[in-house]
Point group: C2
């Protein structure tokens, strides 16, 4: 049982006395490469020039929206591996998920890679969830390389959560537009010739439920969870907002952003100078008629891969708190009158000097 000694020591390094929710990783976990594949609308937005691949239409040559979404995951991981000069067999494990019931975009998208898969569900926070568990697997010494993949698709999500597209339902201004896209990330315990960034800490999120029931205002449903995770991260790491160049939520949109900033201000935390929301970056809301902004697991994943990691890699941003946000609803829970609780997983990503 002498192993317990080793583990205890290692455990102490990974924890904080001040707060058990966050962890400082005992060794750096490098984001070796990443890739983003998006749909037509995303390819017409402000980040168009940064994505690795843009589809000509949202079926991507498939018969169904779900199959198209599976293809996005498949392509994103393929591109990330190619950019990293790795083969799929180099990945010891995959950590992946999507928004659809029973995560079918993931199951049918990643089966062909024939790698052991840890299937995840964290709604639109799944990119943070997969990076967190992937980073823990690497930092815990369980793998040299892992792959983290997430996706969403506007049409499969509308079908899963709201109204048939043909119904032409009118959307309130608080509604967000589910991003068609997938982001894939290859994590490793060594930087190799080059790494895009390094993950140094995690703040896994709790479910936070303020009782909001409006599934067409998910930004406000998720803002309390984002506020909780951000506040906890700052407390656990003993940081203030300006210790981050950006504090980046996943898909609160413009309505959720206001709620987040207000909620944090009531706790005396002002992140207005640092805050950025992936959902507000991916579309030109006015020109593209996307209302409050983009959403979906794919939103934060493709913005991380295409835009955020670029800024970090170039050293424009030295340290970022990346906080994908998820709304934990289903058609069934909504129809049964349940509220929409939120969850947000925080990942500290830094520049590799």
């Amino acid at each position: 049982m002498e192993n317990q000694e080793i583990q205890k020591e290692q455990g102490d390094k990974a924890m904080f006395a001040c707060g058990a929710q966050s962890m400082k990783l005992p060794v750096p976990v490098f984001i070796r490469e990443s890739a983003s594949v998006v749909g037509k609308k995303e390819g017409q937005g402000p980040l168009a020039g940064l994505f690795d691949r843009i589809g000509e239409d949202d079926l991507f040559g498939c018969d169904t929206w779900e199959e198209a979404e599976s293809g996005l995951q498949q392509d994103a991981l393929h591109l990330a591996l190619a950019k990293a000069g790795l083969h799929s067999t180099d990945l010891r494990y995959l950590f992946a998920g999507d928004l659809l019931g029973q995560s079918i975009a993931t199951s049918f998208g990643l089966a062909q890679y024939e790698r052991p898969l840890f299937g995840l569900y964290g709604a639109c926070s799944t990119c943070g969830l997969s990076l967190s568990l992937g980073a823990m697997a690497i930092a815990g010494g369980f793998a040299e390389y892992v792959g983290c993949v997430t996706s969403s698709h506007f049409a499969s999500a509308e079908k899963e959560f709201r109204f048939p597209l043909g119904y032409g339902n009118q959307r309130p201004l608080s509604a967000t537009w589910t991003v068609t896209g997938s982001g894939a990330f290859v994590l490793s315990n060594h930087r190799g010739e080059k790494a895009r960034a390094v993950i140094t800490g995690l703040t896994p999120g709790k479910i936070v439920d303020y009782g909001v029931k409006d599934s067409l205002n998910m930004g406000v449903c998720m803002a309390p969870a984002a506020a909780d995770t951000i506040r906890q991260n700052l407390e656990d790491f003993g940081r203030c907002p300006k210790d981050y160049d950006r504090i980046i939520t996943g898909d609160l949109g413009s309505v959720g952003q206001r709620a987040l900033l207000d909620l944090l201000l009531t706790h005396g935390v002002d992140i207005s100078a640092q805050h950025m929301d992936c959902g507000m970056e991916i579309y030109d809301a006015k020109k593209q008629d996307t209302h409050a902004g983009g959403s979906g697991c794919g939103c934060s994943a493709v913005v991380l891969s295409a835009y955020i990691l670029k800024q970090i890699e170039e050293g424009n941003w030295k340290r970022v708190l990346f906080v994908p946000t998820g709304a934990l609803l289903s058609k069934t829970s909504f129809n049964e009158g349940q509220a929409v609780p939120g969850i947000a997983h925080g990942v500290v990503i830094e520049h590799v000097a």
Copy 2:
């Protein structure tokens, strides 16, 4: 970057040269306590005397099946914590999931614990998935205690995957009966005064798709994945079937069992003397009219907690390979004509001397 040295050494301990799929845990992970809560039908089966709590009816005093399933998770974790003499705040992280779209049984069941949650989806393999990731978190030094919770509910699952109960659909003999139940497990890096068992190794599963499309014969859909994981486990650990007192699948049922034994025989592996299936243990198939057996994430979870851990704790079984099996289908994938791929996560559980 001297930390990389430490990690490399630790990493080598956790891996095998012979096969990257399995991992031997670098330190033992103790199953400190567990609990099982089941429905009325499970409480009339052969394991009735072993469950911690049996419901009088399957609504458990709730308004909906989904709410009832959430209550099962809540109760199972509450009982496991009470038996372990721990408070929920002792759990650094939760690893949990269920079968429902967007895992709502988990979201609404565990929110009140206010612990950071890693949401998982592995269909009926989720008990193995949660124990695997929980064990990695402990063995990696990221927590002293974690909670692993899974559930399923006959009525919420029929509604999610098949036909409305009121429709009175006839079930073929290959069909299984979704278990109403939840199992919760508290893992720790130290054995404390007593531990029920110890996790020493993992074989996370790959998605295996033989193209079977019959969602009313899930045993056969999942058998290839179970065979793959079992074969890989034996190979990676350099073991033969008799090195395990039992090799226990989650919910193949009697039809899937035959497929599993046959598939393994074609690879020269005979596990007929060691094989047991949780789905075949939980009901008296003839008297209870459950056809091929029990299924659902709850099936393997409650049988592990109530029956398997008891045998291991008492020393009747010294080492067991526990392999919960999942069928990766959804209503949508089924209606779109997709096959039902399987996945199975292997967990090596041993007696604590």
